[in-house]
């Protein structure tokens, strides 16, 4: 099932988006295509609508904090084609404080996925229809899944075991 990706997808995406495609990796039977961060909406809607590829289902969006690397974050879009029974991953790199474009116009499921990643990493998805935190309280300080956020949280009246905040 994954074979059809090997033959068609890589060539097609490369032909269509040229230099915006930065890297193609096969690892553990999975295809990861790294693209330029400004091209993500275009690549997404192409992969969704191209009849041979048809990545109609967005499984998940996940972020990795690679501190102190620059750019700091990797955002992975896990795609699934229900018609072709194949999966692939599209990846973009976003720096600290930079914004990523929202893909909610391509898949409506991206709404909550992006809210979750904003909540946990503080990445702002530009053009998101409902940019709020999802798990944590609205007035929560910091973004817990960043590597510089302490495991036990910050010390305050509710959390005596937390770390002291650096001034």
């Amino acid at each position: 099932m994954q074979e059809h990706l090997k033959n068609s997808v890589i060539d097609k995406v490369k032909a269509r988006f040229g230099t915006a495609v930065k890297d193609v990796v096969w690892y553990a039977g999975e295809l990861t295509v790294t693209v330029d961060k400004d091209a993500i909406v275009g690549v997404s809607s192409y992969l969704k609508n191209e009849p041979d590829i048809k990545m109609s289902y967005l499984s998940d969006i996940s972020v990795v904090d690679n501190m102190p690397r620059v750019p700091r974050f990797d955002i992975s879009y896990h795609l699934l084609s229900i018609d072709k029974k194949s999966r692939m991953r599209v990846k973009i790199a976003v720096g600290d404080g930079e914004k990523a474009a929202t893909v909610t116009s391509v898949w409506r499921s991206a709404n909550w996925y992006e809210r979750e990643n904003y909540d946990m990493f503080g990445i702002v998805f530009e053009g998101h229809p409902d940019p709020r935190r999802i798990y944590l309280a609205e007035d929560w300080e910091g973004y817990p899944l960043r590597k510089d956020y302490p495991l036990k949280g910050y010390k305050d009246q509710y959390n005596p075991f937390g770390e002291e905040k650096k001034k």
């Binding site: 553990a28 998940d60 896990h78 029974k85 999966r87």
Partner: protein, 399 residues
């Protein structure tokens, strides 16, 4: 002066905001639903989640790979076995190991038993939400039988931690196989009993048919999974379409719905339970003998009885527990068909004993997103049916 009610002029109503939950008898777990209602009609339903957020993913980055298995039990606590499976399978993918045949069959049995507990809870709680108490008691009675089987497998009833990287913790005994076979026979009869109780029940049909209709396109677009996706007529099941373990050798049907309403989600779950029983029966017959873990001492600790008697085994055990094992650098995503839908783990490894990043793709979270879409312009009472049909579990949804 009392207002006359039998007048022809309509009574003025205004839109209200109501909080359903987080403490409400018919909201599942700690779901806090903020509802804008105009009379009985729902204008907007905004799920406010996160009451059970424990930072599972952050914890994972700070412990060894083998220490994370118990945390997965506490995601979807109704069916811990499926969560165990999804996690260990991803680590095995990164390690590039293939587990022995017998362990594969045992894992399938465990995962399908977990599917039964998950769906039994779903149907039972759904019934009680809509006012049918009996079905909950019946479903819990059968669930106890499954928990007894789990206890025979690993000693734990709910938080199993049965699967480990490289296989399963204990071999199953002949007594287990015999009892599991007996359970399958009982379960088939009981499923017919539920059918008689619910499927033709006028109230049940009236509350569920035509409620919360989700088309196939919307289901895919919203990223819902499992029974909710299939009830909308999307023919996709990871067990069949991206087979893992030994699912490609087993015969089972993937039930589909046509209308995509709550009633279809119910019938799909009922049929999935029948298919789960069918799968378990096949596994019991086909299961070969042999080891249940891979022969890799760095990944699998020695049996407990050796640890007590043998110095080398004690050292080995100590080394395993305190140092863990290294996983090669790379990233992998692996998904299984859990009772709620696609449960996937995305692990990025930097070559050490701890995951650099672990992301759980939890189906309850993804399914719950569609609540607002389904609830708009429906009646308040239908929202209860819609939530129950999506079957969110908050241990999993909030992570």
């Amino acid at each position: 002066m009392a207002r006359k009610l039998n007048t022809d002029e309509p009574i003025e109503t205004k839109a209200l905001t109501l909080s359903l939950g987080p403490q409400h008898p018919s909201s599942h777990g700690v779901l806090h639903l903020i509802l804008d209602v105009q009379g009985e009609t729902v204008l907007r339903a905004d799920p406010d989640i996160g009451y059970l957020h424990r930072g599972t993913e952050k914890i994972a980055e700070n412990i060894y790979y083998h220490q994370f298995v118990p945390y997965t039990d506490r995601l979807d606590y109704w069916c811990g076995m499926s969560n165990n499976l999804a996690y260990v399978q991803t680590v095995e993918k990164l390690l590039g190991i293939d587990i022995p045949e017998r362990a594969k069959y045992i894992r399938v049995i465990a995962a399908e038993l977990a599917r039964l507990t998950g769906h039994l809870t779903c149907v039972g709680a759904w019934g009680v939400d809509l006012g049918a108490m009996t079905i909950l008691l019946y479903a819990m009675r059968e669930r106890e039988l499954v928990l007894d089987l789990f206890e025979m497998m690993c000693g734990a009833r709910v938080t199993n931690t049965y699967m480990r990287v490289g296989g399963v913790r204990y071999d199953v005994t002949d007594a287990f196989k015999e009892r599991c076979g007996r359970f399958c026979k009982i379960m088939k009869e009981k499923l017919d009993e539920y059918d008689r109780l619910l499927t033709g029940n006028r109230i049940w049909v009236a509350r569920n048919k035509g409620v919360g209709i989700l088309s196939a396109e919307d289901a895919i677009d919203f990223g819902v999974g499992g029974p909710v996706l299939r009830a909308s007529g999307v023919d996709f099941d990871i067990r069949r379409d991206e087979p893992y373990l030994v699912y490609d050798r087993l015969k089972f049907d993937v039930p589909l719905g046509a209308a995509g309403d709550c009633f279809d989600r119910y019938t799909v779950r009922m049929e999935e339970m029948r298919q789960a029983v069918r799968i378990i029966e096949q596994c019991l017959t086909d299961m070969p003998s042999g080891p249940v873990t891979v022969d890799m001492p760095e990944i699998v600790p020695p049996p407990k009885k050796d640890v007590y008697k043998n110095m080398e085994s004690l050292i080995h055990h100590f080394k395993y527990v305190s140092d863990g094992f290294k996983v090669p650098k790379g990233e992998a995503y692996s998904a299984v068909e859990s009772p709620k839908g696609e449960l996937g783990f995305y692990i990025v490894s930097d070559g050490t004993e701890k995951p650099f990043r672990l992301k759980a793709r939890v189906p309850s979270f993804c399914n719950l997103q569609v609540t607002d879409f389904l609830s708009r312009n429906s009646y308040l009472a239908d929202v209860i049916a819609i939530i129950s049909s999506l079957d969110p579990v908050f241990g999993e949804c909030d992570k």
